[in-house]
Symmetry: C2
Subunit: 594 residues, 2 copies
């Protein structure tokens, strides 16, 4: 029988305090009991013993739980709430888990802890020291569940570690973490005001604030939080199509001429993966994202061939003249240029396309201007750096991912739209006949129909809470600090022996792109095939050794004709100059003999 007939008993709602200690209330004390079905287990006697262990004091607060030594080996999920009298077991289980999590948090910030403890897929699949990933028909004990939780963290990657630089999203913000814990406890969705009144209002106010920071006229505009930058960018393409060819919504793409989208050749690469482990040399470059505009083009029925890539200058910025030439070319072919994506913070170079010049062209040819600030968006919060977004207020839509540069836990991405109503117009499927004519409720609070999703995860609370806790000024300080650190790295290596910068000049964002040249390659002819082939393997080899030793993580990739290079990005609030120094030392230690 799954639902227990003999629930775990508790010892009553006593408000207790350990003698002499800080106030600390408890309502029970579970102990090992080998006979699950036994009548009256854990009852009476333990509660008597409890009374001897604790002296009760009054408390003006809600009864509090103290974690006690609990034996979970004969307890199961069915013993937890909503099981009758499952409260004590539930509290002890959650507190035990919190102990595991807080220990993980503490260690993640401790530089003596490894960033990761790498294992191959087959090793994990075979079961590491009893960590069995397979699912089974019968339940595991809560003790085993807690062990599974520990193991899950043990074999994972500490993305909050001060020396984790691998992704655009790094770090572990404690307030954001608290926000996520609360969000999952509230466990609702963003569909309507009815079931998420507070979160819906928080989203509305936060989006309004973000639009103000962009510089759009107050009172206008719209937006929504979406599951990541790729979906936000997809929204922008959909909205642009709806603005110029609304009939496509009902009649499909055949109702419009051949529509063309424009984006930088430099936004395609997000990530890279490198492994060299044990006997094998694996190395793999995944240039799969940010193909986000191209992915959107394919998904939404434009076709990826109708996504035109724009040439960039040496720093990775779109060349406006190339955009105009390509627009004219497209027009001459009889196609319709619809949409330009200006990237504000490209994934590899951190480049900011010149928004004002692109906006001039968009106005001239009556095109939609989207600014993809997924990565760069945070710089809007910095008085020192927001000039890189100059002209953003002329954009029709903006993608901005607080989960990247602003350190908000994953996922948190916003699509912001200058024109009010168009987002709902594009996505709503309301059947008017079902709406009552005497309706008086302001539906602007019900966001469900604006979204392409139905249920929508609550991504707003952690961000709202961080904003409350840091203030706008706190985000600004975080951004400025990261940019300063990246400048520190740039200054450190630009003239250092064994380093070459991928592009000249101070990076616009925190992206510092460089080759490390091992001594064996120094002085070789740069244009020779041998040099290029050897250099191409340096970053993957170093990265693989880094992962094996678990000391730090940084990304690499090729770009166009340029062979594999390191792309250092700094969004981690825990990183210090000493961590930058460590990274450079580590690259040299691991790469010295290549």
């Amino acid at each position: 029988d799954y639902w227990p007939k003999q629930p775990v008993s508790i010892s009553g709602n006593q408000t207790c305090s350990p003698t002499h200690a800080a106030p600390c209330n408890t309502i029970g004390f579970l102990q090992k009991n080998n006979s699950l079905g036994e009548e009256g287990r854990l009852a009476g006697s333990l509660s008597e013993r409890q009374k001897n262990l604790f002296s009760c004091v009054n408390s003006d607060r809600d009864a509090r739980f103290c974690r006690t030594e609990t034996d979970f080996s004969n307890m199961f999920a069915r013993d937890l709430l909503p099981a009758k009298n499952g409260e004590e077991a539930t509290m002890q289980f959650l507190l035990e888990l919190v102990d595991i999590l807080t220990n993980y948090v503490r260690k993640s910030f401790d530089r003596s802890t490894k960033v990761l403890d790498f294992h191959h897929p087959h090793q994990l699949l075979e079961g590491m020291e009893g960590f069995n990933l397979e699912l089974s028909d019968q339940p595991e004990s809560l003790e085993q569940i807690l062990v599974d939780c520990r193991d899950t963290l043990k074999y994972g990657v500490r993305t909050g570690h001060p020396r984790f630089f691998n992704q655009l999203s790094t770090g572990l913000d404690i307030i954001g973490l608290a926000g996520e814990w609360l969000t999952s406890t509230a466990n609702t969705n963003m569909f309507t005001y009815e079931i998420a009144p507070v979160f819906v209002l928080m989203e509305q106010l936060t989006l309004k604030k973000m639009r103000e920071i962009i510089g759009w006229p107050p009172g206008e505009g719209d937006g929504i939080f979406s599951p990541g930058g790729a979906i936000s960018n997809m929204y922008s393409v959909m909205i642009a199509r709806y603005k110029y060819f609304p009939e496509v919504k009902t009649k499909g793409m055949s109702a419009a001429p051949r529509l063309v989208l424009f984006t930088s050749e430099h936004v395609q690469i997000l990530n890279s993966v490198g492994f060299k482990l044990f006997k094998f040399l694996y190395f793999l470059v995944i240039p799969q994202s940010h193909y986000s505009i191209k992915k959107a083009g394919a998904a939404l029925g434009f076709g990826s061939e109708n996504v035109v890539l724009l040439s960039t200058d040496e720093r990775g910025r779109v060349i406006p003249a190339d955009l105009e030439a390509k627009i004219l070319d497209v027009k001459q072919k009889g196609y319709h240029p619809l949409f330009v994506n200006a990237t504000a913070g490209s994934t590899v170079y951190g480049a900011f396309d010149p928004i004002n010049e692109i906006a001039d062209i968009c106005e001239k040819y009556n095109m939609w201007l989207h600014v993809d600030g997924a990565w760069g968006g945070g710089l809007l919060m910095s008085r020192k750096h927001r000039h890189k977004f100059s002209g953003v207020e002329r954009a029709n839509s903006v993608t901005w991912n607080p989960h990247k540069m602003m350190g908000v836990p994953l996922q948190c991405s916003a699509i912001l739209v200058r024109e009010k109503g168009i987002l709902a117009g594009c996505n709503s499927m309301c059947a008017g006949y079902l709406f009552q004519p005497d309706k008086q409720y302001d539906v602007s609070y019900d966001t469900g129909d604006k979204a392409i999703q139905c249920g929508r995860h609550v991504d707003i609370f952690k961000f709202w809470l961080m904003w409350k806790a840091k203030g706008t000024i706190g985000f600004e300080q975080h951004i400025d600090k990261c940019l300063d650190l990246s400048q520190y790295l740039y200054d450190k290596i630009r003239n250092r022996e064994g380093y070459e910068m991928v592009f000249d000049g101070v990076p616009q964002h925190t992206n510092v792109c460089f080759w490390y040249i091992p001594p064996s390659l120094r002085g070789m002819e740069h244009n020779s095939k041998e040099y290029r082939e050897k250099l191409h393997k340096v970053a993957p080899n170093i990265k693989a050794m880094m992962m094996e030793s678990g000391t730090t993580m940084v990304g690499y990739q090729p770009q166009g004709q340029k062979v594999n290079f390191f792309r250092m990005v700094i969004s981690n609030p825990a990183a210090l100059q000493s961590d930058i120094d460590f990274l450079i030392d580590e690259i040299e230690r691991l790469g010295r003999d290549l």
Copy 2:
């Protein structure tokens, strides 16, 4: 200066235990201190006092933190990790938050707690008792942040309450909650094995298990977790298009004939919202989702007019003959019938379309068969109820949302595909020239390029952990219990005075659809305009009063020509027969005088 020069000091890493009490270690004790900038604040003396309060004992475990009475009024986010010596403040803050959350959890399961404390948007926006939603430039103290957390929960809706029946997703699973807390602590994304090794493997194994349960051949197939059922259904349409017209990916919809999608007329309505509060009569019906296939048709460039709605029988099940007739009609017009969505568990009636008969037609006309089991999917886990999915193994793709009937916290939705490779083929944007010919790494572990997203939230862990903790058998017992409860409700009201069932016979899912007829309407001519108009207002009125009193929540909506009726759904593991009785009593109490 944002980053503190004078960090919070701690009293060292002592392993302490309150005298006579259960082992409980602490490494500090923070107290109120009014001068943030003061040199050496919180140092020395407190740590001395601490030593007097606790006697130290040895422990073979990691040092543990006990929550102590901490004054957060002069502490700020900047005092937390990664601030130097921020560990103690971080632990105390998180434990204080956990205290708030565990109290919320306890109360959510307590039937004497209200389901919600409703307020109008303008009331919340004006600030309830100091709960200020506005964001500001300056940081708030951690004390205020904790108050904000309490208020956020206070003014929200307790979706885990045993009497919350409003959505398809209800309940609060403790193991799932633990899984979410761990997921947000790990804070990574599902892009590559490199940064989410354990989660990527868990996803792979879980999807494999789900495909086995569907009944597809072992070793075949693919799938991915997506941000909700609407996106999963969108995937299915994209994959179907790619299967039959792969050139659309590159060339756009113009490369294919006019493509037509088919889905039930009965899947459109997900949700309804009703308010009647104070002086105003608001009532609003939102028939916005599951227009998910229609939304997908509009978004992906098919056009919503090319989504053909299929007639249903009295129980809301698609009539296969109508499907075939409409396919022939479409073919006669020269269009191409591409895709049929068979709904397994419609949102309002809980109807299961006859999959085998639909599969016969799809085979005959060479069409893609998708089964939308977003709501019904859980029934696959039940030996007693899975016959309702008979024929599902013939589907090309299946949507299955564990966050609905299986009680997994939001969001957790899977799109499962029978044919291997087609998901990646559809969505990947790999530039082949960038892949090394000597690549030896098995890219099947890197899921990023299969997805239309880039970063992807870790939705798998909570589900995996619940499966471990309950076993397959635990899910089965949950499903069977919910179906039994719904049968109990059906038996209770089908012949009860004042009730009429919206359709005859035992519901296929837990959806019980009924009208409550207040005494004033009983005996009136059912087909009269007056009766229909009055009855249409009954459910919204009762719902609004329910929300005002906060005692329970249940959905309502109209369907076709049928005026507003209640749709009771049971997915809440906390619900008992007494809660069903309560709901009926409450409907009668509130509706008696209408």
